[in-house]
């Protein structure tokens, strides 16, 4: 019954790790762009 439990756990770990890392990269890119938008808005107020 317990045979291959380790492989099953590794597979499930990979599934969620892939989605988590992808979500993290999108969130990081979004944060960077939001900072850029804020900076450009301030710059537009000045010029």
């Amino acid at each position: 019954m317990i045979r291959n439990l380790q492989s099953l756990m590794v597979a499930y770990l990979f599934v969620w790790a892939i989605f988590f890392v992808y979500h993290l990269t999108v969130a990081q890119r979004l944060a960077r762009l939001q900072d850029e938008v804020k900076r450009l808005k301030e710059m537009l107020k000045q010029v």
């Binding site: 317990i2 291959n4 099953l8 597979a11 499930y12 989605f19 450009l40």
Partner: protein, 242 residues
Amino acid sequence: MDKRTRDWITSLAVAALIAIAGYAALFQAPTERTMGLIQRIFYFHVPSAWTGFVAFLIVFIASIGYLLKRTPQWDWLAVSAAELGVAFFTVVLTTGPIWAKPVWGIWWTWDARLTSTFVLWVLYVSYLLLRTLVSDPERRAVVSAVFGIFAFLDVPLVYMSIRWWRTQHPQPVIAGGSGSGLDPLMWRVFLTCWAALLGLMVILLRERYRLESLRHEVAEMTIEVERRVGDAGSLSPGKAIR
């Protein structure tokens, strides 16, 4: 209800569905007689592939939409869906070998299903790489749209490969004709898992699309800053943007 609250509620609902799906796949679904526990990979391996197909279908439709309408929103949708399709197929290509090793005795074989799936993944990675090579946004969108339509041709090939050729990969258990089929409880768990992954795809797609629209906003604002600085004539655009 404002958009932010609605987004939060959707995200919480999808998180709950993912938790239910995970529980159902691990504890509720019956254990398959010949493969045992390892067969439970099926509940995320196959729905990931189906969700990936949906993502690539969105790329296909959005690419046609862009070529017909030439509005950037279609291009944003296409690239967002392409990235997600690659993520879902990365899951498929990772969980497949983990399942194959104890069942087939090998991690990988170049049969029609595995090869066409790998080619599909490479095609959409190429789609994303191609976009980085073209700097003009309009040209990039056109080239990507043509490539997005072409790449989709592999999707039916992947789906039909186990029906058309003899493969190491098992014959279809869903929509596979007489002699195929799933236990009703397995079928319900499978559908729950697919619904959870589709929900996840919608949330990630929304986020990724927002990223693309922000990119566009930054590009527009940068041009505007450069124009104003140029008009003022006192600062160089490079200095102003830095």
